[in-house]
């Protein structure tokens, strides 16, 4: 039986949304999609091997291939709704079986961008965006239930409380997203529907990513072998090249590990890793491939950011933050070997 449910309780179980089949086709990452599948009575074995579901399997792989190419999966004509839903669920299963974490993040981001298009048009259309309305639309419900953002509609715009905005906006580096550059009044931030859904992209992506990580799947499923090996091929392009090992402090090792798993390393973590390695004498070209595993990896951006770390702070380059600072950022993973040091750069010295 296919269950794309939480195995490890990633988030507290929420009350189910009332979601129609067409809405599930647009937002197949909702856990209601798993219930939908259960209700239809098909099993994972059916999807994996039954000739009737060949199109579902192909579409599942197409979704993953699109993600690997950095594209958003869109077909000319919408398929039958169940195929749209099943293919997402099956893609999640294939990815989980492949255990190629570098692909999880890519897939999650691509699917988040896909959902974004629907979210935006639903948000534009939906006059029931307002939170207070018991029959509020699916987007408002997704935002509330999944991301704790309560949106209101005001004319063509969407408003949300300042704290909700900030919890999602600080991931952006562009100045347009700074609160000071937003229309803010009475405690609410005003956004266009496009901005509102863009704001949530990485939250949707991490939600989808957590659906893969927590999916309960058998170690292998007859019929999916060739799909899984295709994923392994695709993933090779994103797995970090030779990783540095040896005398790195545990905070740095941990950060490298996060990237190797294809998980997101926060900006502060990237800053730490970049400054540490630069100060350890590594070149930008040596460091950049480490970031390949990041779900949002882009070579030019990475090189640019490393260059600014190297040349910033008035030309001398930024130094790596102290242990105290890293502790406050939850980046410290202290071990006994860290005794007596106050800066990652001191690790392993004098011994």
């Amino acid at each position: 039986m296919l269950e794309v449910g939480e195995d490890e309780p990633a988030a507290p179980r929420r009350k189910k949304l009332e979601v129609g089949e067409d809405e599930l086709a647009r937002y197949p990452f909702l856990d209601e999609a798993g219930d939908y599948m259960k209700d239809t009575g098909f099993s994972l074995e059916d999807l994996a091997a039954d000739p009737a579901f060949g199109r579902v399997r192909d579409m599942a792989l197409a979704r993953i291939e699109a993600a690997a190419e950095g594209r958003v999966f869109m077909k000319g004509a919408p398929d039958e709704l169940p195929v749209e839903i099943y293919s997402f669920l099956l893609a999640v299963v294939m990815l989980k079986i492949s255990s190629r974490r570098a692909m999880y993040g890519r897939f999650a981001l691509a699917e988040a961008r896909r959902a974004e298009r629907f979210l935006e048009s639903d948000l534009r259309r939906d006059t029931r965006a307002s939170m207070g309305d018991a029959t509020r639309g699916v987007v408002a419900r997704i935002m509330h239930d999944l991301f704790e953002v309560d949106i209101e509609r005001d004319g063509d715009d969407i408003t949300m409380p300042v704290p909700s905005y900030l919890l999602h906006s600080t991931g952006f580096h562009e100045r347009e997203w700074k609160l000071v550059n937003r229309r803010v009044s009475g405690g609410m931030v005003r956004l266009t529907p496009r901005e509102a859904v863009r704001l949530l992209r990485s939250a949707v992506a991490s939600y989808i990513s957590s659906r893969i990580t927590s999916a309960r799947t058998p170690p292998s499923v007859p019929g999916l072998e060739k799909y899984v090996s295709r994923i392994t091929e695709l993933a090779a392009a994103f797995e970090p090249a030779a990783s540095y090992t040896g005398e790195y402090p545990p905070c740095i090792k941990h950060a490298i590990g996060v990237l190797e798993k294809g998980e997101n390393l926060p900006h502060s973590g990237r800053f730490m890793l970049g400054t540490y390695l630069l100060n350890a004498g590594k070149s930008i070209e040596e460091i950049a491939p480490l970031f390949k595993g990041a779900p949002d990896y882009n070579e030019n951006t990475t090189l640019y950011q490393l260059r600014s770390l190297k040349e910033g702070a008035g030309g001398s380059g930024y130094s790596c933050p102290s242990c105290d600072k890293l502790r406050t950022q939850d980046l410290c993973h202290e071990t006994a070997e860290c005794a007596g040091i106050s800066h990652p750069g001191q690790f392993g010295r004098g011994r």
């Binding site: 409380p161 300042v162 704290p163 900030l166 919890l167 906006s169 600080t170 100045r175 347009e176 700074k178 609160l179 000071v180 550059n181 229309r183 803010v184 009044s185 009475g186 405690g187 609410m188 502790r327 406050t328």
Partner: protein, 366 residues
């Protein structure tokens, strides 16, 4: 510590004990105080008013602090406390405003402990000294103006109405916000709020000035009645017809850079000049309201802008004390004027004696 100061603190915490209240959610906060001779005592947990009063009456400390953060285990070392949230705090310090009058009310305390107002000590020739700033009405008024700007922005834009301002007891104000919407915010989010209230990082698009020549979008400057920053900026820089057309022309000819520079110039005028480092620190301990500030002997008290905080916060008593003082600058405190004092014994009200002792300008008579 000075015996005079010690006895005044004991009296203060004895007489005013009943007025001192533990802050909201006290059991979740970290308390700390300064113990003369041994330094800071931190990671203390206080359960309620009675617990706080016991701590104060037993120790009569020169400085008492309390975290803005709430923890699961406030008494454990920092790494094990388990952060649960924090009040939002703003700090306005007259020092950061750097008014030209500062030189007139500053003195220097030499390493030989004598006091002067020059680069080099006239008594021992040393150049090593610490600057001490004395009360100045202009400076504290300017700091309060920043607080008023801040409170208005918090209320109008951010919807925060329950902010409470305190005179810090020295040269500035603290603004505390206990708000269920903001207490979970981390440092990065708080930096955004700090930048918001100080109008830092604003880009020309915000006020309708064109991005650059390529975009060819005509300038459409913000209107004075727009909500938030666009309106506030328009009222400041685009209020008249002439100013608007000048800004438009300037933005088109000077381009993005110039428009950006104009916004940066406006920031300290229309933004609130706060210390962003304080707002973003979610683990800091702050001086507790109602307690004495060991840098001045004045109390940290709630402040709403009426009157003179240097009068209202001088609460260590008006009965005279004799101290050996040296203070080349006149200062006003507790509604009276003091100094200048040549090196020697003077009899002054207890609060003024404490003030000079805290500033290093006086000591107990031998």
């Amino acid at each position: 510590m000075s015996a005079i100061l010690g006895s005044l603190l004991k009296r203060y915490y004895f007489e005013r004990l009943a007025d001192i209240r533990a802050p909201a959610r006290a059991p979740e906060r970290e308390f700390g105080y300064f113990r003369p001779g041994s330094g800071m005592v931190r990671h203390i947990s206080v359960r309620d008013d009675a617990g706080l009063r016991l701590l104060l009456s037993q120790n009569a400390p020169p400085d008492v602090y309390c975290s803005n953060a709430y923890y699961a285990f406030p008494e454990l070392p920092m790494r094990e406390k388990e952060w649960r949230g924090a009040d939002l705090i703003f700090d306005v310090d007259a020092k950061d405003l750097a008014l030209p009058c500062r030189a007139e009310h500053a003195v220097r305390v030499c390493e030989c402990s004598r006091v002067h107002a020059r680069a080099e000590c006239p008594h021992c020739g040393s150049q090593k000294s610490q600057a001490r700033s004395l009360p100045c009405k202009k400076c504290i008024k300017a700091a309060w103006d920043e607080v008023e700007k801040l409170l208005k922005i918090l209320e109008e834009d951010l919807g925060i109405t329950g902010a409470i301002a305190y005179f810090s007891g020295n040269e500035g104000f603290h603004v505390h916000v206990e708000d269920p919407g903001t207490y979970k915010l981390g440092s990065k989010e708080r930096l955004e709020i700090a930048d918001y209230v100080s109008f830092r990082g604003a880009i020309p698009e915000l006020v309708g000035l064109p991005r650059n020549a390529e975009k060819k979008k005509p300038a459409k400057p913000a209107e004075p009645d727009n909500p938030g920053w666009p309106g506030r900026y328009a009222r400041h820089a685009l209020a008249s017809k002439a100013a608007r057309s000048r800004a438009k022309k300037e933005a088109e000819s000077g381009g993005y850079q110039l428009a950006q520079a104009r916004l940066a110039e406006a920031a300290p005028v229309i933004g609130a000049r706060i210390d962003p480092g304080v707002t973003t620190d979610v683990h800091r301990i702050f001086r507790l309201a109602g307690t004495v500030n060991g840098k001045s002997g004045l109390s940290k008290i709630p402040w709403e802008g009426e009157g003179d905080p240097y009068e209202a916060a001088a609460l260590l008593g008006g009965d005279p004390r004799e101290v050996v003082a040296e203070c080349p600058v006149r200062f006003a405190l507790g509604g009276s004027r003091f100094g200048p004092f040549e090196h020697g014994r003077v009899r002054v009200p207890a609060y003024a004696a404490a003030y000079m002792i805290c500033k290093g300008l006086a000591s107990d008579p031998a």
